[in-house]
């Protein structure tokens, strides 16, 4: 698709190369890459969940082993970092979603923060519900 005619008169166009480290060129680009990397934290969280399920399947000893492993300092550090990334994911996701799905009421577009707000409410409620199921003494 790129057009590069070459007549005797056509001057040499200068094309600046794009550096492999382009995403360090501005803090906005860096933030974008961080946002994209939250997906790794998401995948890691799924792995943790799978490990938990496997331990539940295998029996109480495996579960004890699992809880023990989660207390290892490197594991804790990793999870805290991953958790921060998850928060970044949640915030960016909620804030960007209204752009992709504009909501109109009475022909007028609803401001983005108003569309985002219910998402946060949902998030808090869902989190509380999950925590309650997990923590409740049966």
């Amino acid at each position: 698709m790129s057009v590069q005619p070459s007549t005797e008169f056509h001057p040499r166009w200068y094309r600046a190369p794009v550096s492999t480290y382009w995403w360090m060129g501005s803090w906005r680009y860096s933030l974008f890459i961080l946002r994209e990397l939250t997906s790794v934290a998401v995948a890691w969280s799924v792995v943790v969940t799978l490990l938990l399920l496997r331990s539940l399947l295998k029996g109480p000893d495996a579960y004890a082993h699992f809880t023990h492993r989660m207390q290892a300092p490197w594991m804790l550090a990793l999870n805290i970092i991953a958790f921060c990334f998850l928060l970044l994911h949640t915030i960016t996701w909620f804030n960007l979603a209204p752009r992709a799905m504009p909501v109109r009421v009475g022909g007028k577009r609803v401001p983005e923060f108003l569309v985002a707000a219910p998402n946060y409410v949902l998030w808090v409620v869902a989190s509380a519900a999950i925590a309650w199921f997990v923590l409740r003494k049966s």
Partner: protein, 116 residues
């Protein structure tokens, strides 16, 4: 540039996964990865979790929470590799790696949840 590609399908999975990951995953990792290990909250007992995980609703929930976010990861990670590393020639390998990974994870979660 004429026929619509299947990107739409992967993008839907990515988006659905993004929503699930945004709403449900932070609390899970917070509880099991941070709060319990640090002793901020009492670690639930094995029996309690097992009964909880065995309820049909929880199985469906857990399946969704494991599978869709993996596809979310696959999509995003694929593009991050393309853009961040500029490794165009590896496109196909990356594609297989990412979605293959997500598929394996999904099957694994299905297996675990059926057996549990």
């Amino acid at each position: 540039m004429s026929k619509p590609s299947n990107e739409g399908f992967f993008w839907l999975l990515f988006s659905a996964g993004g929503v699930v990951a945004a709403v449900f995953i932070p609390v899970l990792l917070f509880l099991f990865g941070v709060a319990f290990p640090l002793g901020w909250l009492p670690q639930p007992s094995y029996e309690h979790l097992l009964t909880l995980a065995r309820s049909p609703l929880a199985r469906i929930f857990l399946f969704v929470v494991c599978s869709l976010p993996l596809f979310h990861w696959a999509h995003r990670f694929r593009f991050t590799l393309y853009d961040g590393l500029q490794v165009k020639h590896l496109n196909e390998a990356i594609f297989v790696l990412c979605y293959g990974g997500a598929l394996v994870g999904t099957l694994l979660s299905g297996y675990l949840l059926l057996k549990i």
